[in-house]
Amino acid sequence: MQLTGDRFTMDTAILGNDISTLPNFPAEIRAPQGTLLGVSSFQLHFADHHIQTPGDAPDVLVAMNPAALKANIRDLAKGATIIVDADEFVPRNLTKVGYETNPLEDGSLSGYKVHPIALTSLTVGTLSDLNLSRKDAERSKNMFALGLLTWMYSRPTETTEKFLTGKFAKKPDLLEANLLAFKAGWNFGETTEEFSVSYQIAPAKMPPGKYRNISGNTALSYGLIAAAKQSGLKLFLGSYPITPASDILHELSKHKKFGVITFQAEDEIAAVGSALGAAYGGAIGVTSTSGPGLALKAEMIGLGVMLELPLIVIDVQRGGPSTGLPTKTEQADLLQAMYGRNGESPVVVIAPSTPKDCFDMAMEAVRIATTYRVPVFILSDGYIANGSEPWRIPTDAELPDLHVEFAPTEENFMPYSRNPKTLARPWAVPGTKGIEHRIGGVEKADQTGAISYDPTNHDFMIRTRAAKVAGVQVPDLEVDDITGDAQVLLLGWGSTFGPIAAAVEALRENGQKVAQAHLKYINPFPKNLGDVLARYERVIVPEMNLGQLAMLLRSQFLKDITGYNKVRGLPFSTTEIIEATMAVLGD
């Protein structure tokens, strides 16, 4: 199902529509088919105008079995179109998910436009001339469904045909089966009276340029490769497989021709340890993980704080605590990233706001880590990691200069001397003559870096490390307050950008005055944040946690914050943010 969703998304993006997707699948690789637990879905929202989210209530549902229908029907918009594989609506499958009567027959779907189509038998019939097992033939029914939707929404067929040709290049019989099923689905849509209306969606208005579709994890990977090129440094990823971050490891391991080194370590600790070792040697050291892995890496990140080396920690957040909800999204690692280490252990924390923003924020992480010699967290999450949107591909000239200098050979080298502006210590890599020195996790003496138990020195070093992070240059927070006199500010961070922006748009269309701002830099906060907060009577912070950013804001700015918190493993819907805002506006 994920593949079908991906293809439809691509075909739609190429047509110039704006898109936003929400893949949603169970943690189990082969969860029992036909059960509610095993339902894998892919939600796509496309439009001829700019859109922010995968949408709250789909207008069309394709349900391959009764379980898929049952799991998704409550999300559908009233009057939505439902296409089902009628072959699957047999008593056994119905009872498995608790349907006492067949919903296709009992009138319970009368509020929808229902199209029961025998997808399985049509597909098997289409492929009857091929020498395929029934099981292999049935597998092609996704392509039949895709062909049908492609026709319904006038998407181009060439790209999917090209994709299938590449994917099954070495399996000609499966290629033929999938192509036939895809075409048969398209033809079915065209010829049956059932679909007498074919939708035409006009292209959306977007800035000129070359575009592609990109997911957050791919954008992060590309951003890191671009940063390696712009800095002239080697890129090293140490990682241990974990959902939903593994795709970063997969993606980067494909790009050896950029000199990228990927190291699948024995555990999360070794993954970040190897990245820190590589950073010591002068590479961009990166580790990618999710919440449980981050918990294991804590001590090594603390060492990174002490050694004052560049280190990039990507946390693609998922539902927690513990194993939690591995395939669902959440923003509840913010405080872990900020404070989840022993001692006073400041790090930089940044958070991309959308899938395409991951590209820019990866480069920002490299800029900050290499300039200030400090661990930098990138807090992504399952929503933007797997979700995708159109991305205008940047030109070479648009990429930042990330050039850095290593410490040169010098007499009386002081490994803990500091750049007066950035407070960074020298990046002194092995192989440089005359600057041999020892560093470690024991408190360092200022300048020399020798072991020091001196109370005054410890206090000084603690404050210096804190001042260094507090002094990291980040852009000011931009506020979108079109009338300039809104009293309520909606302030988000990370992946909530889409639903908040969609809600603000809708509220304004309704005549409401609301301002919006989005924090991508959380530690340090933008310098103007205090002023921004002071300007608004009420500040609403929607977060997929129980109020972690709100806690940071209250403690730093003594500003009362109205939290809007949901931890359901799903992104916010636009409607719920509108309602939460209306409640505050009506106070």
Binding site: M10, I14, L15, G16, T159, P203, P207, P208, G209, K210, Y211, R212, N213, Y222, I225, A226, K229, F236, G238, H255, K256, K257, F258, I261, F263, A265, E266, D267, I269, A270, G273, S274, A275, G277, A278, Y280, G281, G282, A283, E299, M300, G302, L303, R392, I393, P394, D396, P430, G431, K433, G434, E436, H437, R438, I439, G440, G441, V442, A450, I451
Partner: protein, 333 residues
């Protein structure tokens, strides 16, 4: 290679050495400092990385690059450095608690990958820095602060563990035997890949004379079974024979020299070196010292970087513009 001849003094840092008086670490440090010039490498190309524990203070005392890292993780940090900078010569300094308890996972994986790390495992069979708890190599029944009526744990044999972890070079030496330890260091540095040297090290404060049997002039001649490639395996009084498919230590007087096993450190079959490692018990009745195993297998960092070089020579270096524009794209005007 450098054209300047360095001396022991060149490898001695300005830091005051702070181990307890009489600690075995002093003699190991002195031996390593004397050995390093023989590598013929400039100091800046050598890196010592340690974990936590008494032995892990080692890097501070050497005038090379060094990291005193966190407990058990030195092989992980060193692996990242070795893979990204394969031209460096990297030593890992660790102890029995650091390598075999908290860091056991990293040790075995560094060994199986055959990363080019020279791992010196100082085994004093006790936790010294935390003041005297039993370690994973302490003999069963050991009475310590945390085991007032005796430890119940079966100890690790570090040599057996390393061989089980697919190590390509495994040796054992003794802190105070400078000549033997130097030979082991030389052999390890020539070896391409990971090399583990277990060094019996005396802790005079919490486990004094733990290795007296291999150091005392009256007993060591009989206890130490010398592993010398191409020579029969024997001590001054005992030798090793094969009997019913097993290795056995017998008195030399009971067999003829030709019955003794002739040592082959290059034996590809790890069960040979493993059998040798089982000749020693924690009671130290008989202790093989020397190189148990020294076999060739491709080194990890070399392979990682070769894969990259091969891809580049086949497909050319990566082009960022074409990467970013890969897949399906469209123009908006």
């Amino acid at each position: 290679m450098t054209d300047v001849t360095l001396t022991k003094k060149d490898f001695t840092s300005d830091q005051e050495v702070r181990w307890c008086p009489g600690c075995g670490d002093y003699s190991i440090l002195s031996t390593v400092q004397s050995f390093l010039p023989s590598l013929g490498l400039p100091r800046e190309d050598i890196v010592f990385i340690s974990g936590i524990g008494c032995s892990s203070r080692f890097p501070y005392y050497l005038e090379t690059f060094g990291i005193h890292s966190i407990h058990g993780r030195a092989p992980a940090i060193a692996s990242g450095l070795a893979i990204s900078r394969p031209e460096l010569t990297i030593f890992v300094i660790t102890g029995d608690g650091d390598a075999l308890s908290i860091g056991g996972n990293h040790l075995i994986h560094a060994l199986r990958r055959n990363v080019n790390l020279k791992i010196l495992l100082f085994n004093n069979r006790i936790y010294g820095l935390t003041k005297g708890q039993y370690s994973p190599t302490s003999e069963a029944g050991k009475v310590t602060k945390s085991t007032p009526i005796g430890s119940l744990d079966t100890p690790f044999n570090p040599i057996s563990l390393a061989i089980g972890a697919e190590a390509t070079f495994v040796a054992r030496s003794i802190d105070t035997d400078r000549k033997h330890l130097t030979e082991m260091l030389q052999a390890a540095s020539v070896h391409k890949g990971s090399a583990l040297i277990e060094i019996y090290q005396n802790c005079p404060i919490f486990n004094d004379d733990a290795f007296i049997a291999v150091k005392d002039g009256d007993t060591k001649g009989a206890t130490l079974l010398q592993l010398i490639h191409g020579a029969p395996i024997k001590s001054e009084t005992h030798g090793v024979i094969m009997e019913n498919g097993s290795m056995k230590v017998v008195e030399l007087s009971s067999v003829s020299e030709s019955d003794l096993i002739v040592h082959n450190a290059n034996n590809p079959d790890p069960s040979y070196a493993f059998a040798l490692s089982r000749l020693s018990s924690s009671e130290l009745d008989h202790v093989p010292v020397g190189i148990f195993r020294d076999v060739a297998r491709p080194e990890y960092s070399t392979m990682v970087n070769q894969q990259i070089a091969d891809v580049i020579s086949k497909d050319g270096a990566g082009n960022l513009d074409s990467l970013l524009a890969s897949g399906d794209t469209w123009e908006v005007s």
